[in-house]
Symmetry: C2
Subunit: 406 residues, 2 copies
C-alpha cells in the first residue's frame, strides 16, 4: 500500500462460540496497536458479516489492559457472531462498506465457512483493483479445518469434555450402570475422541467411543455395550452427535424421521437429547429386557457447555488463540502477503510440545473440512488409539488429579 | 461405652454423587485418627448399605496425606454409592453385621433417605441394648435437607450451574435466540435458583427461572418468553426438571404420558432431554410460528455434570464438607450424644460469612425435604429474589470474571 498513509481495519467473529475466540480478538487488538504506522482505526463488526453490511461497528482501537485481559478470558464472541453464509451478492455489500470506510484490512475469526467468505471478499477486491489485506483466523471446537495441525478453540472444548467424562466416569463407578454421553461434532469425531484423556486405567471411562468417521451398526453398538457391561459391570459410552450407520446415514436423521412419523401431537421429537435417549432406549430393550435385568441406563447430551463454559479453558489453547490473532495482523502488515489463513505446524511433542505459525491459502482452508484420520480410530471402530492421545494431550493440558481407593 | 476398649467404625456413602462427598469421607478418616483411643479400625462400606450387608469393606484407617487429599478432591463416591432404601429387614441385616464385626460407630454420608436408614439402625441397636453411635453426615446437591442452613455438595453444584448459565448466556448473546436450560431438582428449586448468580446486569441471562415450588402454566411460559424476547431480542430460561403445572402435576410426567401415547416404535420418548425439547417445541409452535419468524430455539439438559464435574468445586463447600465429616466423628466420640445429623447454622453473612455446626436429631432430617421458601421466588413466579442471591453467594464463592465490549 502507498507509503505513509494509514488505513482502517475491520475484525469480525463468526460461527459457533468457543472459550478462546476472544483471545484471538484481543491478539488482533494488541497487534494493531503495534502497527499503528499502518493501521488507523480497528473496527469491530457486531455479529460478524451482518455487522459489516449494517455498518454496526464498535471502535476497538483504544481498549487497554486490564480490560482487554478480561475480554480475552471471557468465553463466546464478544463482538457477537453470525450463522449467515454470505453469497457473492452479500460479499459485494461487504466490499462496498469497506470502500466507503477506507477499510483495507479485514480479519475474520471463524471456521471453514468464514475462510470462504474471506476468500470471496478478497477475490472481489482484487477484481476491482482495491488493495485489501484479508486474513482468516482459525476458530472451531470441531478441530476440522484443513492444513493446520489443530484449531484454536478445540483444546478448551476438549478439556471440558475430557473432564466431564472423567467426572461422569466416577459417577458411573459410584452408581454402576450404562451411561451414554453425546458429544458435539456433526461431521468429525475430533471432540468425542478427546474423551480418551479421561481414561487412565483400563477399567476407566470412556469404555467405548464412536465417531462419525467409523460407521456404527445397531448390532455393533448392542454387542459392544453388552461385552463391556459383562466385563466391568458398567459401561460409559461417548458418541459424536454425527455418528453414521453402515450406509453412511446419520443416526440422528434416522431417529428424526422415525420420530416424526410416530408422533401425532405438538411434540418435536428430534430435539437435543434425541440421539442419547434413543441409544439409552436401545440398551433398555435390547440388553436389559432381553437379559431380564434391571439396569441403570442414562444419557446426557453435553450441549452448549462444551463451547461456552467459563473458567476452564486450556492454557495452551488460550495462548495459541492469542498468537493466531496477533500473527494474522503481522502477516497483513508485512507486505509479503495479501491474503491467508493462520495455520499451526507442530514442531515438538510431549514435554517438548511447540508450534510455529505459517500462512495457509484461504482456498485450502475454505469450504471442506478435515475428518479424524483413520489411524486415530481403533480397529473395531469403538475406541481411540494412543497415537491420538499423544496428539491431543498437549492441546488440553493438565486435567484435575483424581484418586481411587485401593 | 466401657472404659478403655476400642471399637470399630463403619462409614458409607449413599445416593447421588456430589463434588465434595469425598471431602466428608476424608474428614471422617482424619478425625478417626485423632480419636484412636476410642476407635480401632475404620471400615469403608463399598456401595453404601449394600457393602455392609455383603461385608464388602475397605480398611481406611491407615490412609495418609497426600493420597487422602487427592481422594478429597475427587468428585463422586470413592467408596461407591447405592440407591437402596433399606427397610426394617434390611436394617436388621446391617445391625447383625455390626455386631459380628465389633462395630459401635456408624457414619453415613447421604441425604434424607440415608438419615432415615441411620435412624432405623440406631433404634434397632437401642432396642437390643447394643451401644451404637450413629451419625449422619449431610450430602446433597439438591440442598433440600431440613434443619440445616444448607447442605454440603450444594455449593459446588450451584457453582457449576451458575457458571454454565453464565457461559451459555454469553453464547446466547453471541448468537441470539431462545435457549432453555434444564437444571437438576425433582422436588426443590434450590439448584435452579442458584443460576441467578450468572446475572450481573439486567439484560444478562438467566432471564427467566422456574422452580417446582411455583406452579407454571403453559400460557405463562409462552407469555414470559415472548415478553423477554421482545425486550432483549433473546431469552435464556432456566427450569428445574421438577416444574409442576397449575394442578401440581409435574410437567415431565405429562410429557411422558403424552409421548408414550403418541409413540408406536421402540423409542422411549421421555428421556433425559424430553422436558427441554418439549419446552423448545412450545416456543417454536406458539411463538415462532405464530409470529411467522424464524427463531433460533435450543434446549440443553445439564445432566450428571452438575454433580460430578471435576476441578470446579466451591472452596467453601469443600471446607464445609470436610468439617461436617470431622464433626460427625467428634459428636460420636464425645459421649454426649448417641445419634444425630451434622447441621450448619449461619453466624455471619456477606463478607463475614461464617457457620457453626450443631447436632440435629435424625428424625428431624430423615424422610421429608425442605422446599425453596416462597420469599426467594419473585411475585410473578418466574424469577429469584435478591435475598436468595445473598443466601447462596457465599456457598458458591467467586465465579470467573467476564467482560463485555462497550
Amino acid at each position: 500500500m502507498s507509503g505513509n498513509k494509514r488505513y482502517n481495519a475491520v475484525v469480525g467473529q463468526s460461527g459457533g462460540p468457543t472459550a478462546v475466540i476472544n483471545q484471538s480478538l484481543v491478539g488482533i487488538i494488541e497487534a494493531v496497536k503495534q502497527h499503528d504506522d499502518k493501521i488507523n482505526r480497528l473496527l469491530g463488526a457486531r455479529f460478524g458479516t451482518r455487522g459489516i453490511i449494517e455498518e454496526n461497528f464498535v471502535d476497538l482501537t483504544d481498549l487497554e489492559f486490564p480490560f482487554l485481559e478480561r475480554i480475552a478470558q471471557t468465553p463466546c464472541a464478544a463482538l457477537g457472531s453470525t450463522r449467515d453464509k454470505p453469497d457473492e451478492q452479500y460479499c459485494k455489500r461487504i466490499f462496498k462498506v469497506f470502500e466507503k470506510n477506507d477499510v483495507h484490512y479485514f480479519f475474520y475469526i471463524g471456521g471453514n465457512d468464514s475462510a470462504d467468505t474471506a476468500r470471496i471478499v478478497a477475490e472481489m477486491a482484487q477484481q476491482e483493483g482495491y488493495d485489501l489485506r484479508v486474513f482468516h483466523i482459525p476458530k472451531t471446537i470441531d478441530n476440522d479445518l484443513r492444513v493446520t495441525d489443530h484449531c484454536p478453540g478445540y483444546g478448551s472444548a476438549a478439556r471440558f469434555v475430557a473432564a466431564a467424562v472423567m467426572g461422569d466416569g466416577l459417577d458411573n463407578a459410584s452408581l454402576p450402570g450404562i451411561k451414554i454421553d453425546v458429544i458435539m461434532g456433526r461431521n468429525a469425531g475430533w471432540l468425542a475422541a478427546s474423551t480418551i484423556l479421561a481414561k487412565k486405567d483400563e477399567s476407566d471411562a470412556p469404555h467405548l467411543i464412536y465417531v462419525p468417521e467409523s460407521p456404527l451398526t445397531k448390532e455393533q453398538f448392542i454387542n459392544d455395550v453388552s461385552e463391556t457391561y459383562n466385563k466391568y459391570g458398567r459401561c460409559l459410552v461417548c458418541v459424536s452427535e454425527g455418528i453414521v450407520d453402515e450406509n453412511g446415514q446419520p443416526w440422528s436423521k434416522k431417529i428424526s424421521t422415525q420420530m416424526e412419523r410416530d408422533a401425532h401431537g405438538n411434540i418435536q421429537l428430534a430435539g437435543s437429547g434425541a440421539l442419547g435417549d434413543y441409544l439409552a432406549q436401545l440398551v433398555r430393550t435390547e440388553i436389559a429386557e432381553k437379559r431380564g435385568e434391571k439396569l441403570r441406563v442414562r444419557a446426557d447430551t453435553f450441549g452448549y457447555l462444551q463451547r461456552s463454559f467459563p473458567g476452564y479453558a486450556s492454557l495452551v489453547d488460550q495462548a495459541e488463540a492469542r498468537l493466531a490473532g496477533k500473527t494474522g495482523v503481522e502477516y497483513a502488515c508485512s507486505d509479503d502477503y495479501q491474503t491467508g489463513s493462520v495455520a499451526f505446524r507442530r514442531t515438538g511433542n510431549g514435554d517438548n510440545y511447540a508450534i510455529e505459525c505459517f500462512r495457509a491459502e484461504l482456498q485450502d482452508v475454505a469450504k471442506e473440512t478435515k475428518p479424524l484420520p483413520a489411524e486415530y480410530i481403533n480397529e473395531k471402530g469403538n475406541g481411540i488409539t494412543e497415537e491420538f492421545r499423544e496428539y491431543v494431550s498437549p492441546l488440553v493440558g493438565e486435567l484435575p488429579a483424581i484418586a481411587k481407593l485401593p
